[in-house]
Symmetry: D2
Subunit: 248 residues, 4 copies
Amino acid sequence: MIKVTVWNEGLHEKLSKTVAGIYPAGIHNCIKSFLSSQEDIVVRTATLSDKKCGLSDEVLDDTDVLIWWGHMAHEKVPDKIAAKVAQRVLDGMGFIALHSAHYSKPFKLLMGTSCSLNWREGDRERLWTVNPSHPIAKGVPPFINIPVEEMYGERFDIPEPEQLVFIGWFAGGEVFRSGCCWQRGLGRVFYFQPGHETNPTYHDENIQRIIINAVRWAAPCRKVFNVPTGHSKISPEERLHEADAKKH
Amino acid sequence: MIKVTVWNEGLHEKLSKTVAGIYPAGIHNCIKSFLSSQEDIVVRTATLSDKKCGLSDEVLDDTDVLIWWGHMAHEKVPDKIAAKVAQRVLDGMGFIALHSAHYSKPFKLLMGTSCSLNWREGDRERLWTVNPSHPIAKGVPPFINIPVEEMYGERFDIPEPEQLVFIGWFAGGEVFRSGCCWQRGLGRVFYFQPGHETNPTYHDENIQRIIINAVRWAAPCRKVFNVPTGHSKISPEERLHEADAKKH
Amino acid sequence: MIKVTVWNEGLHEKLSKTVAGIYPAGIHNCIKSFLSSQEDIVVRTATLSDKKCGLSDEVLDDTDVLIWWGHMAHEKVPDKIAAKVAQRVLDGMGFIALHSAHYSKPFKLLMGTSCSLNWREGDRERLWTVNPSHPIAKGVPPFINIPVEEMYGERFDIPEPEQLVFIGWFAGGEVFRSGCCWQRGLGRVFYFQPGHETNPTYHDENIQRIIINAVRWAAPCRKVFNVPTGHSKISPEERLHEADAKKH
Amino acid sequence: MIKVTVWNEGLHEKLSKTVAGIYPAGIHNCIKSFLSSQEDIVVRTATLSDKKCGLSDEVLDDTDVLIWWGHMAHEKVPDKIAAKVAQRVLDGMGFIALHSAHYSKPFKLLMGTSCSLNWREGDRERLWTVNPSHPIAKGVPPFINIPVEEMYGERFDIPEPEQLVFIGWFAGGEVFRSGCCWQRGLGRVFYFQPGHETNPTYHDENIQRIIINAVRWAAPCRKVFNVPTGHSKISPEERLHEADAKKH
């Protein structure tokens, strides 16, 4: 079983009737719902208003993949929690940053760049699969039409993606690297652009498929891994040069 | 001085009045003309109808960067010449594949993939700079409008670009990885999508700037380089293990 | 079930008593044996002396991952079969090139480079895991000692690996990028250096684990995939620009 | 002219007679000296004991490439200065992290990983050039012998290098990705392993050549660059979809 925690800021749903209409139980519960339909995935949720943002050590110990949705309150997430999340990724936890989470603290810490971009109000988007045999594109058609999405456009200030899986086209004339993969430490990171709070994007079956695939891709190969670092733990007997020396 | 050879199939210009009207001296001479305006670049041209396709050993010995435009007669280029060109790239020569040269023999040999794509007749294109500090983007604005270009769309079957510099947007709803960099052997390879024969794209100042930049980027660091391969040429004295052994 | 075909040149085993002593049933059957111990893998073998090199369309239709071992008779593999194998990789089949298969025809076709390297007779090797959370490194310790392996040293003329998983250290003073991953078309390619015919390397449990992992990593996400290319199959109704035009 | 600032912690030279013997004027002045011999490079130095670490806005405004050497006092560099340096890199400044600067604050901020590694006291190193046509390897032989260097060994916790230029071999049995390139924002980053304070490594002509090359590689294409981000600055007229709409 892959243990997923869906983290959502959870404010727009409270402040806007439009958003509440689209996601009555919150974006996190919408995502939980379609992930939970998969036999190999179990899901919990956490939000900004929970104690410790819902991200205690106990929760993180029990998380294989963390999904992050945030927008208007990135600064409300304490630096300490952001640093802890980033460290967990380095330790092997998968991390999926959705939409405006490009500006979330953990994502920026992991990327090392500003993660800035251009944006504009809703427009038609067509999402192209440029790496159709990537695990995250499994079962995804050559392109997906999204009737309305907030426009996110280049230049997107990210490190060169290790695999670029999706590119977004917007009717107003923009393009965007919409689905990007990286490894950081022992963990895998996926950024995925669609999902503005005022658009019903997470109800789209293909968008759901991509996020389900991303969970499986980002799940760590093994939970506990011991990579020695620091002063070399190789015993003198194992140092090959000295071993030579002894023989003679 | 960077020595450039511009290779052009050179058939459309002879067969079509439209093309001849846009490029009266041929696409190769248009490219030669704007490259020659640069103080650090000297240019010769070669075409399919020249003896040995204009690509004798003498010419290639004197070429730092080879630019390739071909479309309707890829198969007319002898396999031997294509293999020789690819080998020169492995030896350090720069290679710039323009537009339909995605299907040219040397490019396919260097990529190892089918290099297939989707295409459609002319459409408006907007070319986005996604890596603005890459040498090939020097002086290039955030985006370039191209009034009409043949549509090239994903999926483009290429190895993941080592640097993706430009992404094309087409009015009909498509995107394309339009400016892509790779290294093969000791040589650098750049693919650049704009430049259909019936469109005056190579007269565009920004397109010219990109090709000029690409020439400088693709020029080899050093012309002659000796990378030993095969049975190790390291003398026994330099083999560290045996050197150890001797000391004792 | 992952369907694996292990291809072996199969000549050294016939020509050398030493090699026959180490691999009495041939290298291919040694590899088949440890792969077959896995519940999710079924294995067939094929050799150079089989009809069509044992690689008929029927066999390839039934192969998810092809493992290749060859050394002294690369040139005996017909160009047509090499091209067919490379095409299958582009179509999604996984490909694992072992040891001297760096010079095999299908691997060179897929890489587009000379794949040359430096080599020397047997030496002690220590294989380091540089990407411990990569699926191919699952359960593999930080390093593996190989008492004797043919020395393969840099410069290895390959495209920059998309993921570098292992680096080899040799007592004589050399290093080698020993475990390298690429994607080509829809297929995944892994090169793995250890496995000279006169060394019992494929009997090593950790080496076996790496090859088992590589099979699982290289197995295609889906066997049949339809990526449209050529003249755009998007219906006029789906062309967004024209759709716009109609509305007005 | 490329304007370089060499930053050195500058403590070992004061605390250890051995180090002072090797670098009487400090590591920074040794580096300044060989860089200054180049006609296209001008150099200033800065150290931890200078006001604001010698890295005022005025100094950084006048710096194309910042070289960083630090070891025992990484924590003494204020977070604010480290963040400012990292931001300058995103804005286009080149950054070269030498030896134990793998643990410096700016480098860790740019990488987003722990940058941990294994280390051991001095050993013989052989540094291999694995990408001989990379600009940083210009004029560098296939390998360089370093009689004694502190051992730095894998696993080195860095993002996959965009180009791996050098791999280090150590007599005790270790390997290390010793020369690694990345882009972050508009800036270029190079990490280079050799240069322990008690070894005379920066007096080695080949090591000097590599650092000189790295300065030229890391120098920004253009100092001032305006990449618009935030709310789209594209005028409504330039939005292609709306432009369409108007025509009808």
